[in-house]
Amino acid sequence: MSEQTIKQTSPLEPSSFSRKSAAIIIIIYCIISLIPIVWMVMTSFKSANDAVSYPPLVYFDPSLEGWVNLFTQRSRQSQEYLDSLPPPETWYEELVRSRQMVIAGPSRFLGRFTNSLIIGFGSTFLSVFLGSLAAYAFSRFRIPLKDDLLFFILSTRMFPPIAVAVPIFLMYRKLGLSDTHLGMIILYTMVNLSLAVWLLKGFMDEIPREYEEAAMVDGYTRFQAFYKIVLPQAMTGIAATAIFCMIFAWNEYAFAVLLTFSEAQTAPPFIPTIIGEGGLDWPAIASGTVMFLVPVMIFTVVLRKHLLRGITFGAVRK
């Protein structure tokens, strides 16, 4: 009897009651923490009136108004003018006209979104490329002051963006790099490099040296061994690192808001400025937010096994 009571409370084999109650609490937390995300998706399908109704609407007629507003610029017209127009050709034109407006042109959102993509992919590629070279060297070779260099690389990640933004702003102004894609790519590469080097070094440390040594006995040069043996082996790690760099560049706001204005502005500083008639256009903001966040959510699910490693700079591996 006494043995059984001990078993039941043991952390090794929790009783089914303790498992069930844990599951229930976790599910409740999960639901609460997902409300904002679900609400975001719901708002993106509301009409402007439904979005600001009191009490907040859970059931509503879905409308694509927010999405149409996100991608278009519209202007209000009189009823006579609308009547004089030929009938709308597309469903979105019809939707806009039913709100007494006509489409004046595409909005700037797609451009900002493209900027996010260009800067994200550019900086990810550069930081993974440079990072894997440096990580290999740090993993395999003797480097003077190795620990200091590694800490130096890591510490660059911890710099508060606002603190380095002033000199970078002045520097970029002089070099003509402010508000350019290249400037932002270089900047994000700098921030991501430290993560890339640390993570990739961890992954490469795990690849047995014997593989390369065997290859070099077979006549490979060191570089060939790196290129043909180590890199393919580290591919999962490289992919995980790349996605982490991409997510950082995608989410970054401080540098983007201080150093870009129009040409190279990314989506995060742009989304808050989407304005409709009489204030912020919440359904459009929600649509932009959803479109911007869904890729990250997909990556998170794909990445879940590497998540911990990525966010702790490889300090904790699962």
């Binding site: 440079l130 911890m158 000199p167 002045l170 570089f223 966040l293």
Partner: protein, 300 residues
């Protein structure tokens, strides 16, 4: 050590080392260390970036002395401290609690973990904008739910002097509790089973087991998570700027928001550089401790 193998073939290891490491080091020097040195040198001057014709004078430590004697900046530090204290406390308690529950390994705990982690990966600035919508006094879902349960009557989170600091604490806790949870979970999983088995032989009850085995093993992990979040929240910018913009008044004006005002709105470049150096040195110091804790955790 293993150089003997490759000495005769292709590039020497030494050459390859430099070839591989130099680009990274150069880039970091150019985009990170150079600006830093630039900032340090500007911090000793009265430079204004928007007045190019003005003579730049070396004024020694005056900027530092002024910042360290200024009540306003001390207040932004207190606002930062309030924000840091509550976010870290809440995230430690909730994160550790969730990790302990998740460790019971029920069916579906993997999927739930992934779902819980979602908020952490999103863009803080974009998420913050959306939270301002949920904090609307009338149409906001947050206020509606709170009133549904507690019936406070109409209240506004962001515009209220007392509530505004809590509006940022809530969002930060919502976003980053999963971070503490994940790291604590990794710590819990690193505890070898034989410790518990031995404790059971000794008839230690659950609470004693928690106090003598679980807690000491998970503590370095928790410390790692809190130090990291502490550093991040000390320099917190994006979330709060989009959520409250520092207001109302200056109740949520954290140090880096104040710094941004001085640097990019008042253009007091020299002065704000000194402020930046103070923040940087603090973070660098904490970062050293963080790496130390990290190495301890890695040994497990």
């Amino acid at each position: 050590m293993k150089n003997t193998l490759s000495k005769s073939q292709g590039l020497s290891d030494r050459a390859l080392t430099w070839l591989f490491v130099t680009p990274t080091i150069l880039l970091l020097l150019a985009v990170n260390i150079y600006p830093l040195i630039y900032a340090i040198s500007m911090s000793f001057t009265n430079f204004y970036a928007n007045k190019p014709g003005r003579e730049i004078k070396f004024i020694g430590l005056k900027n530092y002395i002024r910042i360290l004697n200024k009540e306003d900046i001390w207040e932004t530090m207190q606002a930062t401290a309030h924000f840091m204290f509550w976010t870290l406390l809440l995230q430690a308690i909730i994160g550790l609690g969730l990790a302990l529950l998740l460790k019971r390994n029920f069916k579906g705990s993997d999927i739930l973990t992934t779902l819980i982690v979602l908020p952490m990966m999103l863009s803080p600035a974009v998420v913050a904008v959306f939270w301002t919508y949920m904090y609307q006094p009338q149409s906001g879902i947050f206020n509606y739910i709170i009133n549904y349960f507690f019936n406070f009557g109409e209240f506004t989170m962001i515009g209220d002097v007392k509530l505004a600091p809590w509006s940022i604490i809530i969002v930060d806790t919502w976003m980053w509790t999963p971070f503490t949870m994940l790291i604590c979970l990794a710590g819990l999983k690193s505890i070898p089973n034989y410790l518990y088995e031995a404790a059971e032989v000794d008839r230690a009850n659950t609470f004693q087991q928690f106090l003598h085995i679980t807690l000491p093993s998970v503590l370095p992990f928790l410390l790692l998570a809190l130090l990291f979040r502490g550093i991040e929240n000390f320099k917190m910018f994006d979330l709060v700027v989009e959520l409250t913009g520092g207001g109302p008044g200056s109740t949520t004006e954290l140090a880096s928001i104040n710094l941004k005002r001085e640097a990019f709105e008042k253009w007091r470049t020299g002065y704000s550089s000194a402020f930046a150096v103070i923040m940087f040195v603090t973070i660098f110091g904490l970062g050293n401790i963080w790496v130390k804790v990290m190495n301890k955790v890695k040994e497990r």
